[in-house]
Amino acid sequence: MAIIVNLDVMLAKRKMKSKDLAETIGITTANLSILKSGKAKAVRFSTLEAICKALECQPSDILEYVND
């Protein structure tokens, strides 16, 4: 996949657990897991905004484009 989700890296940097992030942004841990594993087909702007707010980062810290 050309778009890499670096959510794990950001979570580690902020020393936050997946469960806590899921609770903060209001999605299920199952959906957060889909997002982390790169299985998600799309991310809503509202979800991205909530993640950035919770992790105090930019969208580019979470999403990365890799030419494959």
């Binding site: 889909i34 087909k41 799309a42 991310v43």
Partner: protein, 171 residues
Amino acid sequence: MKTEKLLKVMKFFSWFAFIGLMIKAGGILVTYLLSIENPGISKNLYDGMNLFEYRNYSFTQYSFIISYKILLFAAEAYIAFLVIKLLRKLNIKHPFNMEVQKLMQQISKGVFYLWILAIVHNTHMQLIGTKHNFKMDLFSSDFVFLSVILFIFAQIVKRGIEIQSENDLTI
């Protein structure tokens, strides 16, 4: 609520059609077996079906026509069975699932094969019937249109499933 009731009624009718067609196919098979010994039975094989002239003309041709008829009714019964299965799997809240799509495609294929079988049967009967001026008991063969429509619906459902899965994977 109305749709659910309608589906229940349709399920009942599908069972009715399935059992009826199985009885029909079985009835023809039994009377055919009896007509081997007693040719007179071929005058009324099932529900007034008269193939006595064909029986007298050639037993092989008669057997062929009978096997077409049994196959036709058995194929119809199989389609009715698939419809029962489809109605059982159909969930109005989540109508788009792979099983429903596969069953729709199977029904479409079944109807298509039924159409081919009906054409072969009718051609065979007409070939002998016209030549010897026999009474002809032809099978309706207007299924191809239905088959195509069902196939198109199956493709639409397939696309619906893809869209639904994409929607499910949008976080």
